[in-house]
């Protein structure tokens, strides 16, 4: 890329970062993440006393992180484009010597940086505190957990940006974002569960601890499931909570690489979908 193209991207990205630092919510969310991790480590279990190791913290936190990071990603992204259009500042922005893809990429880069740093700071602080209190912690697993959390955050950020390019109003965009969140966080599992109940015999599932193939395949289309699978595959199997529906044996093709790849593909797909909509749009 020529300097000519990098310049506007960097300017837009910087502005997004400064805006979010100014709003102070990056600090708030970082603190929230750190507190969650510390709470999960110190008081999140009935079985242990005092500080628990990182694997344990991750297991407890995975569900919470899914909910929080997806919301934060959507919140960061949903106003990115429609907010400026509704406010009226998009006209001036697009009259500058830039291309639409540069503006969109600058926004993604800026907001992505904000999200990444929020996660790194929050979980980083918690990791250090836990590391000081617990001997022999496995930082490798914890780093994978942080990496996966960043990926899922970026997926939802780009879903948010995509919605921002689709809807005509900020309020309806927010509605869309809420729907997407419910879809992946709740409705998906409910629908798959219902289909499972009607198509398979429960005794068989209970006795073999396995579900039909289509179930595993469909789960790959829910980024939140992909995320939890990626994290689960990388922490000690003994730590997965027994009796949970996610503790069925994973099929052999489920691998960390595949899960990470799927998340990255989601990030790219939603970026291009967003660009496709933004490019055609009348401002």
């Amino acid at each position: 890329m020529k300097m000519d193209a990098i310049n506007p991207i960097v300017i837009v990205a910087k502005k997004e970062i400064m805006d979010n630092i100014r709003n102070k919510w990056i600090i708030l969310v970082s603190v929230l993440f750190a507190l969650l991790a510390l709470l999960a480590s110190y008081g999140g279990t009935i079985s242990g006393e005092g500080w628990q190791g990182l694997e344990f913290t991750v297991t407890i936190m995975m569900g919470l992180v899914q909910i929080f990071i997806s919301i934060i990603g959507l919140m960061l992204g949903y106003a990115a484009i429609i907010g400026e259009i509704e406010r009226g500042s998009m006209e001036a922005l697009l009259s500058l010597p830039t291309r639409r893809r540069e503006i969109l990429f600058g926004k993604f880069l800026g907001l992505g940086t904000v999200l990444t740093f929020t996660i790194l700071i929050g979980f980083g602080i918690a990791g250090i505190v836990i590391g000081i209190n617990v001997p022999d912690v496995d930082y490798g697993q914890y780093l994978i957990f942080i990496g996966a959390s960043i990926l899922i955050g970026l997926v939802f950020l780009n879903i948010g940006i995509f919605l921002s390019c689709v809807f005509q109003k900020r309020s309806t965009t927010m509605g869309g974002a809420i729907f997407v969140w419910f879809l992946f966080a709740l409705i998906w599992q409910m629908i798959l569960g219902v289909i499972l109940v009607f198509t398979s015999s429960l005794e068989e599932i209970e006795s073999t601890l396995s579900v039909p193939d289509w179930y595993h395949v469909l789960q790959l289309f829910n980024p939140l499931q992909t995320y939890s699978t990626l994290v689960s595959l990388n922490i000690s199997p003994t730590m997965t909570t027994p009796g949970d529906i996610t503790s069925f044996f994973y099929p052999s093709y489920y691998s960390s690489e595949l899960m990470a790849l799927i998340l990255i593909v989601w990030i790219i797909i939603f970026f291009f979908l967003a660009f496709w909509r933004f490019k055609q749009r009348d401002i």
Binding site: N7, G88, E91, A92, L94
Partner: protein, 355 residues
């Protein structure tokens, strides 16, 4: 004009100087007489329109929203260095045309060139030549005036110094570090004008520049437009204040219901419409005899009487005859002047049938 207060490096005396953006002036400290040269920031973008006789070319522009044809086969040229007025009733398609010129909206058909560059194919390059004031001026409300301008300035390779100078020039010096969210409508409009001229672009596109401005602001903007024109800037300005357009513009385009109905100089348009100048004569005393005498003069088209004033529409060579006729009939002339056909009349004629 911009004001700057400098501190003399020699005796620390404060000196206030005035000048235009980009101007270089010699400063002499009134206290210790030491001399220095000060250059006002900005004013030179280095960008010049290339050797094109047309700064903006619009060919067959058509744009529909759903089934409504907002702009229908509009074509016009804006010559390099001129001020082109773009007129039309509300909803006639002015803003749609302007938005298409910057590729903010996608035309159904047609071709638009800015400085010879196709806006849909070479948009980024073309937009380097343009300063734009949108109809609805908006900024980032959580940022200050200076922070806002600096953001746009960075995209145009202009300096922070230039931003400061422009904010001052548009009378917002005291609000330079105030958040734009706390600005009044008029202040936002002034800042919008400052944003449009950042980097001294060779082409200015202004959509209703006097919207929301107080009379002082209107004058400020008008002076700035003239100043830019004198520097060689091409100005495309849409407005509904016709007197302003008439005072500023070399040529006008009139759009009505999405169709460009006229494009020419005001005087040529009035000639084409057969609009004639009026002669307005104020008398000491009005009498029926005078009116009769005036009506008898050859080539008189219309006579209106308002109290002691008699308005006569006539060709340019009949004015003297009218005066003579009045005096012969015993009229005592106190005052007289001619009224050129106004843009308002031209506009009303061209947009007839539009309520």
């Amino acid at each position: 004009m911009v004001k700057r207060t400098l501190v003399c490096p020699n005796c620390k005396n404060k000196v206030t100087i005035q000048g235009d953006l980009g101007e270089k002036i010699q400063v002499i400290c009134p206290n210790c007489k030491s001399k220095g040269i000060f250059t006002f920031p900005g004013g030179k973008s280095g960008l010049k329109t290339t050797d094109n006789s047309f700064a903006i070319e619009v060919r067959g522009l058509t744009k529909s929203f759903n089934n409504f044809k907002a702009v229908d086969d509009v074509s016009f040229n804006v010559r390099t260095g001129e001020i082109f007025g773009f007129l039309g009733p509300n909803g006639a398609g002015k803003t749609t045309t302007i938005k298409a010129m910057l590729n903010l909206i996608h035309a159904n058909s047609g071709e638009i060139k800015i400085n010879g560059l196709d806006i849909t194919k070479k948009g980024k390059e073309a937009k380097k030549y343009v300063g734009f004031l949108p109809e609805r001026v908006a900024f980032y409300n959580n940022l200050t005036a200076l922070q806002n301008l600096c953001f746009y300035a960075k995209m145009k390779n202009a300096s922070k110094e230039e931003c400061k100078a422009l904010i001052e020039e548009f009378g917002l010096g005291e609000a330079v570090n105030k958040k734009v969210g706390k600005f009044s409508k008029g202040m936002v409009q002034r800042l919008g004008m400052a944003r449009a001229v950042i980097g001294n672009p060779p082409i200015l596109i202004l959509d209703e520049p006097s919207g929301g401005l107080d009379p002082r602001g209107v004058v400020l903007v008008r002076d700035k437009i003239r100043e830019m024109k004198n520097k060689g800037t091409t100005v495309f300005v849409s407005s509904h204040i016709l007197s302003e357009i008439q005072a500023l513009c070399n040529r006008v385009g009139i759009i009505n219901r999405g169709v460009l109905v006229a494009e020419d100089t005001v005087s040529k348009l009035s000639k084409r419409l057969n609009l004639k100048p009026k002669i307005s004569v104020e008398l000491e005393k009005m009498s029926d005899g005078i009116v009769k005498a005036v009506k008898k003069v050859d080539g008189i088209e219309d006579v209106q009487i308002i109290n002691k004033i008699i308005n006569v529409v006539c060709g340019p060579k009949k004015k003297a005859k009218v005066i003579v006729a009045i005096e012969k009939a015993g009229g005592n002339i106190i005052n007289l002047h001619t009224i050129e056909p106004s843009l308002e009349e031209v506009f009303m004629k061209f947009t007839e049938g539009n309520q």
